[in-house]
Symmetry: C3
Subunit: 267 residues, 3 copies
Amino acid sequence: MILTTQKINDSYWKVIVNNPPINLFGPEFSEELMVLIDEFEAAENLKVVVFESAIPDFFIAHLDVLKATGFPKGAGKTGLSKSWPDIAKRFEQAPFVSIASIRGRARGLGSEFVQAMDMRFASKEKAIFGQPEIGFSIFPGGGGMERLHLLTGKAKALEIILSGDDYDAETAASYGWINRAIADNELDAFVENLAQRIASFDKKVISEIKSIMNERAVNPTDEQIMDTQTRFFEALAQPEAAIRMKNLFAKGLQQNSDAELNLGKYL
Amino acid sequence: MILTTQKINDSYWKVIVNNPPINLFGPEFSEELMVLIDEFEAAENLKVVVFESAIPDFFIAHLDVLKATGFPKGAGKTGLSKSWPDIAKRFEQAPFVSIASIRGRARGLGSEFVQAMDMRFASKEKAIFGQPEIGFSIFPGGGGMERLHLLTGKAKALEIILSGDDYDAETAASYGWINRAIADNELDAFVENLAQRIASFDKKVISEIKSIMNERAVNPTDEQIMDTQTRFFEALAQPEAAIRMKNLFAKGLQQNSDAELNLGKYL
Amino acid sequence: MILTTQKINDSYWKVIVNNPPINLFGPEFSEELMVLIDEFEAAENLKVVVFESAIPDFFIAHLDVLKATGFPKGAGKTGLSKSWPDIAKRFEQAPFVSIASIRGRARGLGSEFVQAMDMRFASKEKAIFGQPEIGFSIFPGGGGMERLHLLTGKAKALEIILSGDDYDAETAASYGWINRAIADNELDAFVENLAQRIASFDKKVISEIKSIMNERAVNPTDEQIMDTQTRFFEALAQPEAAIRMKNLFAKGLQQNSDAELNLGKYL
């Protein structure tokens, strides 16, 4: 099991991500997440879900590039492709609130995972963000081209995606990538308090607030999400991507290595 | 009189809000504001209006919930409902500039009041912001679902509205809720200088800048504003709202009480 | 020559702006820029262009108001008016990345110039930004009414444009006007590293990222740009503009003067 759910009470659940060594996001992760989101949607009283990592240096490292083509095929409940795009849309539309509490690296699909949550809080000292795809001759394919600019504006999204570099939590907060960077020793108490607080309110009102806000604010369209995904897999099939990946695997990619700790520098 | 206008000169007027004990926004406040905005629109040379509070701890506490159904009925000049939605739209479209200079609490409709101004400056030490509606089993009904996310982005608007919690001025500034948090002993001079400065420019250009910007930038639609207002009054009529309000009135709601000073904690 | 291109290598070019005394943007500047952008577009391997100023106190002071009607007429490649609007659109749509590295004043068209780049970095100590048009009884006519609010949000764009005042780099960064304010002694290394980094990636991917982002994010429409330009030249032809300009020329406008160094105060 990669994902373990702690049911604090009927209203507030916590999900611990534990996929050693570096919390890669592969087909198994995606399948467990699809089971979980079915369970979340079926839980009548569920108001808040918090995601945390069990691995100190990694929240979700990135897509498991060796298994990039092994994800479940077909359309999910939302009509989007059955795996991450469908799941992300369901979090957006859910009648419960999703919160990412981030320590360690959240790069690529890890960054796109937290972008799909309703809100994001990160350890000032221990969280690192990146969209390193350009270093593999590809671009963000899991929503980063659609959701990041809604958080940061276009200029900063271009900087992040075109540099492929690592960003600390304070810079990420000042750019709008996350809601707030919080001192590491205060992060858990902050998120716990916020989650318990939201869980104390009426589910009907929580769900109406999310639903009205989704009507008022700009969200990615299904067409944009699928168009990018198609182009992403085309780019991934180009020889340039294979060459750059081979070089990075030789340096320790997808292992608990200096290359993964400081991926920004290695690209 | 709740609202007193100081006409510094032909171009620059200041409005002092004084509705003891805590500057609640009720039908009388709304009616005085409707008279004032008629006067503003008729003043040929008026370029800047600054709103301040006469009550140290409260800018505008929130809607007077005991009088929530007593507001003037019918459609105002803009076609929106005759009271706050009509007034807010007229500030947006006005040929003069509106500035909120904020000390004390601006929660609920008080927060929505400042969101409808063209710009907002607040005392770093003394201003507190909140959208506490969720604690009453309702949601923002006076523009908060439409205007807050335009200032802060969706993720932070959801955090603010779903937490119902209090935010200090520096956090509000970093979130985009206000233009800037300013040291309390510098706030008056800053706003005075800005207001006098704008008042020294040509009214025709000021009005053209506002008009072009309203065409370029996203503003709430009339449909969104009215849809939320309808749903707001439906939510307010639910028994959950009555129960939560009764509990809060027992603790000092709508009085100059610890509950009003620290409403975020009491919800 | 106002614009000198240093071709660091095939992928990374630097352009130095040198139009003493204060880097005014006049017809000659515009014509050189039109030649340059043709060259940029034709350079098959060009991935990054960085703009810098050779004049310590001025990045680009503003439009040369004495030559405001002397710009090349007719439609450019994009269909927009042949000079700045056409050039700005071409930077936006270009398959290469444009970066402004800013020391000194960037006001009016200077500010609009940097807004048209993909990203902007500025010296914390030495950069100053402003949209001073209102002090001349006009308003931003070169994209400031369209691009600034996309960077800062409407409330801050209104504050900037209605005040006409000077903003230091840290305030500009906190408002989103620029990506980041960087200590003066670190700015060059930061931009050099970012430019070299982007230049090390595949041009095809760089160009696809820009193209997808332009489809996803909001950009000014051609109609908005041309509508504002038309209204700008109408405002410029009003007697109020001539009077305000005459007063400012008497105080040192368009010279290396205290008036140009501290234009915000003089308006």
